[in-house]
Symmetry: C2
Amino acid sequence: MEQTERLARLDALQKKLYAYACAENSLYLDAVTVAPKNTAEGRGVALGILAGEHQKLLTDPETKRLLDELAAASGSLDALHKREVELLRRESGKLARIPADEYMAYTELTNRASDVWHKAKENDDFASFCPVLQELVDYNRKFAGYYDAAKAPYDALLNEYERGVDTRQLDAFFETLRDGIVPLVRAISEKPPVDDRFLHLEYPVERQKAFADYIMEVMGIDRGHCGLGETEHPFTLEFNNKDVRITTHYDLHNVASSMYSVLHEGGHALYELGIRDDLQYTCLAGGVSMGVHESQSRFYENLIGRSRAFLEAIYPRVQAFFPEQLGGVSAEQFYRAVNKVEPSLIRTESDELTYCLHIMVRYEIEKQLIGGTLRAEEVPAEWARLYREYLGVEVPNDREGCLQDSHWSGGSFGYFPSYALGNAYGAQMLRRMEQAFDVFGQVAKGDLSGVTGWLREHVHQYGQLLEPADVVRNACGTLDPQVYLDYLTRKYTELYAL
Amino acid sequence: MEQTERLARLDALQKKLYAYACAENSLYLDAVTVAPKNTAEGRGVALGILAGEHQKLLTDPETKRLLDELAAASGSLDALHKREVELLRRESGKLARIPADEYMAYTELTNRASDVWHKAKENDDFASFCPVLQELVDYNRKFAGYYDAAKAPYDALLNEYERGVDTRQLDAFFETLRDGIVPLVRAISEKPPVDDRFLHLEYPVERQKAFADYIMEVMGIDRGHCGLGETEHPFTLEFNNKDVRITTHYDLHNVASSMYSVLHEGGHALYELGIRDDLQYTCLAGGVSMGVHESQSRFYENLIGRSRAFLEAIYPRVQAFFPEQLGGVSAEQFYRAVNKVEPSLIRTESDELTYCLHIMVRYEIEKQLIGGTLRAEEVPAEWARLYREYLGVEVPNDREGCLQDSHWSGGSFGYFPSYALGNAYGAQMLRRMEQAFDVFGQVAKGDLSGVTGWLREHVHQYGQLLEPADVVRNACGTLDPQVYLDYLTRKYTELYAL
């Protein structure tokens, strides 16, 4: 086969993978937004077939031959094609190593597990989820070997979400954070609590919707390319760099909930919207890793969105949206309220300072589960022990304890650390950015274009052209938790006059 | 290959076709409901690939071999498999006869034509659409030969939308209708006009939405399996018999617009929801033809929805939804207003009596275009001439004339007659139904379960298991325009005291 013909086939292969991904995305989006409630069965049939075709295409012997031939002649490939072949071979090889029957059984298990978990959470009934959790753990321990037999199982799983990261690195990373954050939280607990009751007055949903539009406008998100929908759990979904959707959830008695979820998902969206055109419809489109993605969402949510400069800039407009609720509240009071520190039970509702402690609990438990030193039935006790130790709170039940997150029921072990890594990457990026220009001088004028421009140049544009570790290194050097810790220490020492 | 293995492959083939159809439906639904406005390009790439895969699967030599082998051994097939093989071979054979380059060029043309038509309509600029229309006509004349070389081109096209119907039959059908309807319309035009101004007061959209929910409830549509959305042009879209979506459009100053579009699309939905479970995920799922589908939608919209019995039954609730607008209006006044006859320019806004005249104009023009006796540039003059002759109205411009419908720009020639056939089938079904039970006695109690039950038993359940002509024959005998004409004559003679 001619090289030109091979490249045409490579292009066609990736366009097909793109089309399948679009189809799956679209059906998923429909399912969580407008689909009538009793329609899951037929959609499941379609999604199962599309996922199967998707996988078949990647593991097809003809695909493998094409990729091998291209790899053999990789000297003559340009950088994009070379990277495409590298990523596709990695993915195809991984899928090929998983025996088809195990893959199918696991897919069936995760579908079932999701139902079991939903019910278990609703009924605060860990016992019903426990055997399924152990099954999920066992499959993941086995699959870890297919992903990378040379690594310890949990390292192999971590690598799936944040390539290049391992337990050795994360142990040190989390230890530094824990040693810095826990004393801060203790010190704050001795201070008088911040009054944030005005955030919990009645905020009519229609006004909140208009406010969400305003937040997207401030972020500079082009609504012609980015939709805003409504779902129980906010998320971001990308079709390509010209078509991204974010969702939020409006809580009548919590104006900060939707505001910060829009800032968070908007950060994810800006990443996807900022990826280069020439990577579209190839496997290089899309954000490079969970950690880097979270660095972007949490950059807008916390580093910018919870900064004094940003809040002072937008506050007159915030008051104009909610004159009755916030007319008598100052920008400084608002700033303090949205930065209130309060050790709590639920990760997704936690403040910026304690957030990483929630992640550490999960990291410790996952490490032991996948390492084989903890059984599923021991999880609730271990969860309670760690929440007591790290956050100083007592876990009253499993619903607000180890059943709160969906990740494990979906088969994701090794995903949680990405959230903490994202926080740390973001702080390092901010430090670099501040060396380049007066970040908060611009933000104080309500102008985020410099921030987004910098992130686009140093992070967004590359998509998956580089490895996550290289994206991070180019943007802000090697991972160093001290930078994030310094940021937190400075911010909260000032806020709480520690 | 064993027959068992062949049947398993037949099943897998159809499930794949179903999955592709779901994917295309989902992307389309997204496009017309929530997708941001500048996202068409990437969706077009995905849809193009999915349509190509869909077509490739049907025309694949392996598919052909499988279907041929099954057909050869059809004696051993059960009725369902036999019919599946018959329909798939028909479709696959047809696609295989269209040269791939012509198919691609035509797909490209229809995409382009849709844009050109939209702009031409907006600017009332037939000249810009004219050459594209002629191209579309020329392709359809050629494709007609691929569909069925033994038939005259327009007959071959008609057959695509309503298998078994031809020009000879339709000429007689429309002549009977025209000879009966035109004098009725003339007689009505000499009567004092009905006052329907109260239908055009301000009807708040939120109330209309609640009213639409009520209409669906009266129709007995299970909302767990049928969604109601909002689009510029109402439509029905089915994923399977447990997942159907309808849409409507709310006009602030026309309460009847959304009410009757919900009754219409709800009729389509009940058809899809009533198809047998054992036909799902096969090519036998889905309504059998455009004509039969329209017979169901127009059954609920007109035969039931515009009947005195139905309106009297629901009118207290209608008034309760809109007390300010309708408090002083009687059920009889409402009945007369929604049945007001008024020859007009726009098909989709026309009344029940003149509707078929709009169809006849299009039928006459299509017949000549595809027959080669009329050129695209002659369409506006012919349109004006026929509207004057059939409806007695002057066409002031092409926007409200031959540019009003999207069908031709989408490449659909031979589709329009289905609407008229649907009206006629419906009237025949109603007559049969009345022989079986007291239809309007039940309807007068607001109970449509008998109606839907009868239609489900005689029409819905079969999906595409039978040919459209057989569905019609079983349900109500052979096509006979006189039944529909009798219905119209009786209704409007009474209404207008002719």
